[in-house]
Assembly symmetry: C2
Homo-oligomer: 311 residues x 2
């Protein structure tokens, strides 16, 4: 049911995003015992796939809504994505960030033209501050992952991958808020031939794994993982899509994430976030089940603080 | 005079090397005030352009010579390149390394099937050990940079770049032993329209700069630079080619190398060696002279020890 909308979304956002390359590594293929195709969203504008969803969400607004601007709460990649997408589309962007957020993240948002509104570092303060901006500025709230327009934007990464490699047996993505994997499930259904979608998730923030098992959305009590982009949890809009379209979630330990991240850095010579390495870590962990298959792996982003590496 | 040979060399080595991609960065273009095209030899097999020259040098040997094998002395990328090229071509490779070389470099050579022969860490011991292997094994000595077949192999990187972008005004490369920049000069002459070649060199190992000034090969008294691939010096075969075909050498300070390296890592999300960053550092240093020009920059390699980063 999303095939036509997805084609339109892709067409609409194309001028504002990069068509990212697909890389391969003979050595990683040997280690994984399969044929891997890495979709490099770390090379996407602002360094992550989030640019796709943010751009689409803004483009769906009316002219009047665009004039009044958009608001989100995020201290991660979506804050930067919404800022840059808004800048490209000449729309004001208000970004609610906890005042404890690292200066480097605040600077990145400012560099992309976003206006930062600081709040106390609690979920309640974040939501209230965002709601106040909706009221006072008339800004439209855009959720980082639990929004159908965002999900369809993220789906275009897997759509590009499947247009290049229609015979993929699987696509692996990391699972955080659920926007990327839900979009990937939609793309796989409509643009794959028999392509299954599998998620990688840190053991330390395994809400998606437990949500799929129990059939209802679970929360994370702790999120003690290096994969800082994956601490967020599923939402009411992406969860049913994930239930329907994701074959399996594989959980990985911290040392498995670091090993996969180092493999990508050392062997592919590209910079990815710890969160991105979770997809490869999941595949390597269960590689016996995927021997000889053609597998897409979405490298979700490349925004890391080089002064704080786990190596 | 090298046009036909270079076409043949490229044809010959193609099955054994990667045709590496060319990447761009809007932000780095803004910083450099020019249009930059990065030829990513960090994505080359074994992680550096040296694979091209090593492959070509081995392929030029007779069957009898191939049977007896090749020998070089190097503890850097050429050691790995000759090992892997020899392995691909089923030729024995003897690599003379100082016994003080880091274990990680020895392991890389072994992984590619090279046989390591250790020697004392002096130039004399290296040369004597290599000569002994020529005598006892009948192996052919291949110099890492001062060898015409190696130079023509390295030239294929710039040839690929110019075939994709025939209107480049400049190509910047780092200068170490001189093989890459000499090859680039040959390629620019025959495949560019008006393309000038410019070298970047660390102030701390500026033998090429001083050699060009004085008209004869100069040595480095100290080589205290982070760009460890550029400590070697020009040779009798590549120096005349460089004299004829290189427009300028720009020297850069250590902090300028680190700044350029960090830009490439953070903004392009790719891993390059400090040596590779020297080319961009040189351009940024003298950017007033290159405003608005179309400039190729060769990212020479991506083999770094992630545990020892300068960030």
């Amino acid at each position: 049911m999303f095939k036509e909308p997805l084609i339109q979304v892709h067409q609409r956002i194309k001028p504002y995003i990069h068509h990212t390359p697909v890389l391969t590594s003979t050595l990683i293929n040997t280690i994984a015992a399969a044929n891997l195709y890495f979709k490099c969203e770390n090379f996407q504008k602002m360094g992550a796939f989030k640019m796709r969803g943010a751009t689409n969400a803004i483009m769906q607004l009316s002219d009047e809504q665009k004039r009044r601007g958009v608001v989100t709460h995020s201290s991660g990649n979506f804050a930067q994505a919404l800022s840059l997408a808004a800048q490209s589309l000449e729309v004001p962007a208000y970004i609610v960030m906890p005042k404890t957020a690292p200066q480097v993240k605040k600077n990145a948002v400012k560099d992309y033209g976003g206006e930062i509104i600081e709040c106390e570092p609690t979920l309640e303060a974040r939501e209230q501050t965002a709601m106040k901006l909706e009221r006072t500025k008339g800004a439209s709230f855009i959720h980082p992952s639990n929004d159908l327009n965002v999900i369809l934007g993220q789906a275009t990464a897997a759509k590009e991958l499947l247009e290049k490699l229609p015979n993929l047996d699987y696509i692996f993505t990391p699972v955080g808020g659920g926007g990327l994997i839900a979009g990937t499930a939609i793309a796989a259904k409509h643009f794959g031939k028999h392509c299954k979608v599998i998620g990688g998730e840190p053991m330390e923030a395994d809400d998606a794994y437990r949500s799929l098992k129990s059939g209802k959305i679970q929360t994370n009590s702790t999120t003690n993982t290096i994969a800082d982009g994956l601490k967020t949890q599923l939402g009411s809009i992406n969860f049913p899509i994930i239930q329907q379209g994701v074959a399996q979630i594989i959980r990985v330990e911290e040392h498995e994430i670091k090993y996969a991240m180092r493999l990508i850095w050392e062997r592919m010579k590209i910079i990815c976030e710890p969160s991105s390495a979770v997809a490869l870590a999941a595949l390597i962990k269960e590689k016996e089940a995927f021997k000889g298959q053609n597998i897409g792996v979405i490298i979700s982003g490349g925004n890391v603080d080089l002064s704080q590496l786990p190596f």
